[in-house]
């Protein structure tokens, strides 16, 4: 998010609010996608209109597993992102030195 520090306060507030909105939007989408995945994986009988106990347990575990999985991916994603940003900055500094 370069350029952030160049923004006047008012604009920065607008950006931060926008980011907050995007985070709410993304967490709602994640919510919907977990529901869909666990429904698809766990529910396949439609002889009753209520979940039976096997289906309920399956949904709970699926949801728990997905959240733990996503947390781990998030950790790895963060590590790889910061590494590649360091690489990019090193490359840009080298190019800047060669360019001058």
């Amino acid at each position: 998010m370069e350029g952030m520090e160049n923004l006047p306060e008012e604009q920065r507030d607008a950006l931060l609010q926008k980011i907050e909105e995007l985070q709410v939007r993304d967490s709602l989408r994640t919510y919907n996608s977990v529901v869909e995945r666990c429904f698809v994986d766990c529910v396949s009988s439609f002889r009753s209109k209520n979940l039976d106990s096997t289906e309920e347990k399956c949904v709970s575990r699926c949801c728990e597993k997905f959240l733990k999985h996503a947390a781990r991916v998030g950790m790895r994603f963060g590590e790889m992102s910061s590494q590649s940003e360091q690489q990019m900055q090193q490359m840009m500094q080298q190019q800047a030195q060669q360019g001058r």
Partner: protein, 81 residues
């Protein structure tokens, strides 16, 4: 009550839009999941037969229950929603 400021108004517009987006997304996923679970996709007919009708009703009910379970678990984690 004092009249709301510009910023508050913008925020409540954004929230209303978020809620609408969320509901539409939920509806679309429920629709396509239940289509795949319940419909005979050889399309010999454009109508839903009796079995398909009751399957859809139950599918919607169960989908909604899954929404509840997942919502509670996410709420407990303090992660979103």
């Amino acid at each position: 009550m004092a009249s709301p400021s510009q910023a508050e108004l913008a925020k409540s517009l954004a929230m209303a839009q978020q809620e609408l987006d969320y509901r539409v997304d939920l509806f679309n996923r429920m629709t396509s999941s239940c289509f795949e679970k319940c419909m005979d996709r050889r399309y010999k007919d454009g109508e839903l037969n009796v079995g398909e009708h009751s399957c859809v009703d139950r599918c919607c009910a169960k989908y909604w229950q899954v929404t509840g379970i997942v919502g509670q678990m996410l709420g407990a984690q303090g992660q979103g929603m």
